[in-house]
């Protein structure tokens, strides 16, 4: 199961007192968790605070994580509960407005709202998107296929190797090369 083995290793290190390992989990899941919290808490700065609180709760409760489920599943539950508790404490409805996500126009609107409605804390940068998309378009076919199969289809290296009829080591190399090329475009924007 993707996300499970490495996460388990990281969790093991956190339990032994390695706070840096928890930092890696934060870097890995911060986007997902903030996005998740924003389903409940519309205000971006509040959502950031709630997400931050969720991560801290997860850290404090790490000793109770037995690994029966994937770490992200466990973290997801903590984030949801933290967001709900936040709403209860604030005595507010879960969402301030309703959007029909089945309606493409409204779905687009909701995305734009998320993008624009975020101050410096939560930013969906068109520049970054364009940079990544340009970089992807400029990749050699084999690199582009490898990284898209991984990132979008969620295939394992072994599955990609089978699909592309090449060794697993080649897949690993192609995916890295693709990321390296994209990262060159991304680095000046993010840093």
């Amino acid at each position: 199961m993707p996300g499970k083995t490495t996460d388990r290793e990281l969790v093991g290190r956190v339990k032994k007192g390695d706070k840096g390992a928890f930092d890696l989990l934060v870097l890995k899941y911060q986007h997902k968790i903030v996005k998740l919290v924003m389903r409940y808490v519309k205000d971006p700065s509040e959502a950031m605070d709630v997400a931050q609180e969720a991560f801290l709760k997860a850290y404090r409760a790490m000793a109770t994580f037995r690994g029966d489920s994937a770490f992200y599943t466990w973290l997801y539950r903590i984030a949801i509960n933290t967001a709900k508790n936040h709403l209860v404490a604030a005595k507010r409805r879960p969402v301030d407005f309703e959007l029909d996500l089945q309606d493409p126009d409204q779905y687009e609107l909701s995305n734009r709202l998320r993008d624009i409605d975020t101050p410096e804390g939560l930013l969906l940068s068109n520049e970054i998107r364009e940079a990544v998309e340009d970089a992807i378009r400029g990749l050699p076919e084999d690199l582009r296929t490898a990284i898209l199969l991984r990132e979008i289809e969620g295939m394992s290296y072994e599955e990609i190797a089978e699909a592309m009829t090449c060794p697993v080591g080649t897949v690993r190399s192609r995916i890295f090369r693709a990321r390296e090329a994209i990262d060159k475009r991304l680095q000046p924007l993010v840093n």
Partner: protein, 202 residues
């Protein structure tokens, strides 16, 4: 020229790193900020490709890091001082203890059977498949022991499942009932053996 570490960062994002590689990389990531920044950017690439909204506030991770740093250092305490692998063992031990207590509390320890044999033993010997002999070839003391068994069984079994025999021997003696209130009736005349067998065999 990419270093092996760069490859490993990419593999780490994909959870395709083996344990030995992971240990070394985790150590390195703990003190190598540029490497951690690269890890973070690789994570962003994935989010962008999946069309997810981005959190580009580097201060977020910093704030969480500061929050975690203010937590007590050292290995995280396990719950109640128990290792996770001991918890199921403890649970089973408790369950076994409860079962034992229940078993012994159900045994009529203070009321010894007429035959002098421990009632628990009689129940164990009888068990659910105990068959009452149809003939009167039982040895001396055996009928009392069997009746005691039926009486005890009747006390603990639901009413609907009591055998005819156990009800008969539990009732106060009538004028035409053989035996007395203290002494159970004659096994041969009280109930057919197959009735008792049918009840106890269930």
């Amino acid at each position: 020229m990419a270093s092996p570490l760069d490859f490993q960062i990419s593999a780490l994002i994909d959870d395709e790193l083996d344990s030995t590689e992971f240990e070394l990389l985790a150590e390195r990531l703990a003190r190598d900020l540029p490497l951690r920044a690269q890890y973070s950017r690789f994570a962003i690439i994935g989010e962008v490709l999946r069309g997810a909204p981005l959190l580009l506030d580097s201060g977020f991770a910093e704030r969480v890091r500061a929050g975690v740093a203010s937590e007590p250092s050292g290995p995280l305490p396990t719950i109640g001082g128990l290792q996770s692998y001991l918890r199921p063992v403890l649970g089973m031990a408790i369950a076994a203890s409860v079962a034992l207590v229940a078993l012994f509390s159900l045994m009529p320890g203070s009321q010894m059977p007429i035959s002098g044999e421990a009632p628990g033993m009689a129940m164990q010997q009888g068990g659910p498949t105990y068959t009452v002999p149809a003939t009167s070839t039982v040895s001396s003391g055996e009928p009392e022991r069997l009746e005691y068994y039926f009486l005890r069984h009747g006390e603990y079994a639901p009413m609907a499942r009591k055998s005819t025999y156990s009800r008969v021997i539990a009732e106060p003696p009538e004028a035409d009932t053989p035996g007395s209130a203290e002494g159970p009736g004659d096994l041969d005349t009280a109930a057919p053996a197959d009735d008792a067998e049918g009840e106890t065999g269930q």
